[in-house]
């Protein structure tokens, strides 16, 4: 039963995370359209951004959108962290280990990207 209750709390936290992300993206989007709405779109050709340097070329509203996207990407990661804590509370060391592997892969992906 505590399992379900904990899952409910986690589920609600995730939804709050998505809503926060959506609010940031929406706010950044309105700002972005106000500043760049009249420009021509240019997603037709892929240009290698050359790593992190690309982030410094983003305008302020784009950075706000990106912040929202990062909050969004963090929500499933947070879910895994919460699950790890929950399994530790239950003293289910087998699943603490299995969850740690998943978390390790996620941390690798984030660090490999940056």
């Amino acid at each position: 039963m505590t399992d379900t209750r904990l899952e409910t709390i986690i589920g609600n936290l995730l939804r709050a995370g998505v809503m926060l992300a959506a609010a940031l993206v929406f706010g950044g989007g309105v700002w972005y359209l106000a500043e760049h709405g009249g420009a021509e779109v240019s997603y037709g050709r892929f240009t290698d951004p050359g790593g992190l340097r690309a982030l410094f070329q983003l305008s302020a509203p784009q950075v706000l959108i990106l912040a929202g996207l990062l909050v969004l990407i963090a929500t499933p990661v947070a879910r895994v962290v919460f699950s790890l804590a929950a399994f530790a509370l239950e003293r289910d060391w087998q699943y603490v280990a299995l969850t740690a592997i998943v978390l390790g892969v996620l941390v690798y992906s984030i660090t490999a990207g940056i």
Partner: protein, 277 residues
């Protein structure tokens, strides 16, 4: 087209994809990417925007799914080892695979999705329970008419392997690959269908997050493009609710299959004709 007009069109298309995706239970991510390429967006940018929207629908629906008591947290976590590793491999491969190969693969996945939308699900046959499932605590119960019905899981290794494939496709194409995850759980491992769909929903978000870091590093995620896609898919899927496919949605499934079929043809045509932008 101006950024404002383009954003409005992309929002509308993404909302329609999210709406149909949630009504049919097949997810909208797989439709967003080819729709964006039709609008002239380069494939990798489209994949980046789609991947982000996949996370939004997965995490957004988590609270509602948990309340129903179907999802199997341990099974999800165990299988996520396979899907996240697959996703990381797939996301890395996008950097070296030619766009035409990705388009061809995408076309194949779309054709399969269209077929999935039309196919009637067959009865699960009884498979011998796997002792490994006992050791990994994968067996569980699900609610039915006020009671908890126990189930036992089969073919753990085969299911785990297929999950690696699902993760690989997810990372390669920037989609959730929920249909493949459901098949691995439902058809291969013998999880009850509703346990498979709800648990798969959890796994989609974690799997996509495993690709997201690498996609960001490769510059696939363009904030200006991801903005209308994420907001559109989220709004569409919230409006669509999470109704399971039933008799009333038969016409919608047909519509969805037709749309996916057209997009599959477009992807395959681009791949062959070299129309890659």
């Amino acid at each position: 087209m101006t950024v404002a007009a383009f954003s409005a069109v992309v929002f509308a298309v993404s909302a329609a994809a999210g709406f149909l995706g949630s009504l049919t239970g097949l997810g909208g991510g797989v439709v967003v990417t080819p729709a964006l390429t039709l609008l002239g967006v380069e494939l990798h940018y489209a994949m980046g925007a789609s991947l982000v929207s996949v996370i939004a629908t997965s995490s957004g629906a988590a609270a509602a799914y948990v309340k129903e008591g179907f999802s199997n947290v341990r099974a999800g976590m165990f299988l996520e080892i396979a899907t996240t590793i697959g996703a990381v491999v797939g996301a890395h491969l996008t950097g070296v695979m030619p766009a035409r190969a990705l388009q061809a693969l995408f076309g194949g996945v779309l054709l399969y999705t269209a077929w999935q939308a039309l196919a009637r699900r067959g009865e699960r046959r009884g498979k011998p329970p796997d002792p490994l499932a006992e050791r990994l605590q994968l067996n569980g119960t699900y609610p039915e008419e006020g009671e908890r019905v126990p189930y036992r899981v089969a073919r753990v290794k085969a299911g785990f392997s297929l999950m690696f494939g699902a993760g690989l496709i997810s990372g390669l194409l920037g989609i959730g690959s929920g249909a493949m995850k459901v098949i691995a759980m439902d058809q291969i491992m013998g999880f009850p269908f509703k346990v498979s769909t709800t648990t798969s929903n959890f796994m989609i978000g974690v799997t996509a997050a495993a690709s997201a870091g690498i996609y960001l590093g490769h510059g696939y995620v363009q904030p200006g493009l991801a903005m209308p896609v994420m907001l559109g898919v989220l709004a569409g899927s919230l409006a669509g609710g999470r109704r399971l496919p039933g008799a009333g949605t038969q016409a919608l499934r047909f519509l969805f299959a037709a749309a996916v079929g057209v997009l599959a043809a477009e992807m395959l045509y681009n791949s062959i004709a070299g129309g890659a932008r």
